[in-house]
Symmetry: C2
Subunit: 134 residues, 2 copies
DNA sequence: CTGCCACTTCAAGTTCGCTTGAGGTCAAGC
DNA sequence: GCTTGACCTCAAGCGAACTTGAAGTGGCAG
């Protein structure tokens, strides 16, 4: 059960075969060979696809993801770049936290207009501030 | 200085006029009138645009953002939906945290192959787990 | 040996979120 | 009154990330 063909990968990961073909085409995943015409993938493809899905959720483009996790699924970027990426993600986490707090607040706050609520106004101020100052 | 025309809004927010016209077209922002042909916006547009930018960073589509912050910039969704959205965002924050830790780890870990590093393998397991179990 | 059917390729189409370009308008300054 | 310049409209184009469809192929079960 070492080598999976495209249908099995699709079934196990939920990623459609058409998408897998596309990823193969752009070099985001690599098929280890063919059985007839049928693409075959190594077992590492499975976790590579979860990393890809993670990266997508984080808002990275497939190109950026390909750059982060090279063909082998092994990261090959300079440390500096990796830390920079991590910092970007930290900023994004902060943004999401503000948005989440805003939604939760709005769901619960009884004020007639949220603009009148000091808590909402505070969140708004944070939301408007540039990332560098957060 | 109550009412701004499109150029001023663009300048203050960094959102290009073409995008503002597009947002107007799809009803994501509303112009309060025209001076000649020129669109004019109320001052609330400014903070609405930062909410929009926040929502975009969070990976929501413009339609979803429009649904969250109705035309008036006032949220008009049932509390339940808002909390559901907030929970979604929480999951996303967790995903991002895993990804960030993964990047930082990879930047610093001296192991020859990350697959051999127990810490990396642990992060990988978390990454592969469905959101519900995290 | 013959089907079957899951795959293949390749081109074209789709959605999203805009941008670009051509040609037009209008308020304001000279 | 004329020019200027910032806006306008409308249609087309664009890149990302796929999907869809038509026509073909090849391993394997019977």
């Amino acid at each position: 059960m070492e080598i999976l063909d495209i249908g099995e990968v699709a079934e196990r990961t939920g990623v459609p075969a058409s998408a897998l073909r596309y990823y193969d085409e752009i070099g985001l995943v690599t098929s280890v060979g063919r059985r007839g015409l049928r693409r075959q993938f190594g077992p590492e493809t499975i976790w590579q696809l979860s990393l890809i899905s993670l990266g997508k959720k984080a808002g990275f483009s497939l190109k950026e993801i390909a750059a982060m996790f090279g063909k082998a699924g092994v990261v090959e970027l300079p440390r500096q770049t990796l830390h920079a990426r991590a910092d970007e993600i930290d900023n994004q986490i902060r943004d999401l936290t503000v948005l989440r707090d805003m939604l939760r607040h709005v769901a619960d706050c009884p004020a007639p207009s949220h603009l009148e609520c000091p808590r909402f106004r505070k969140l708004l101020r944070v939301a408007s501030r540039p990332a560098s100052r957060r």
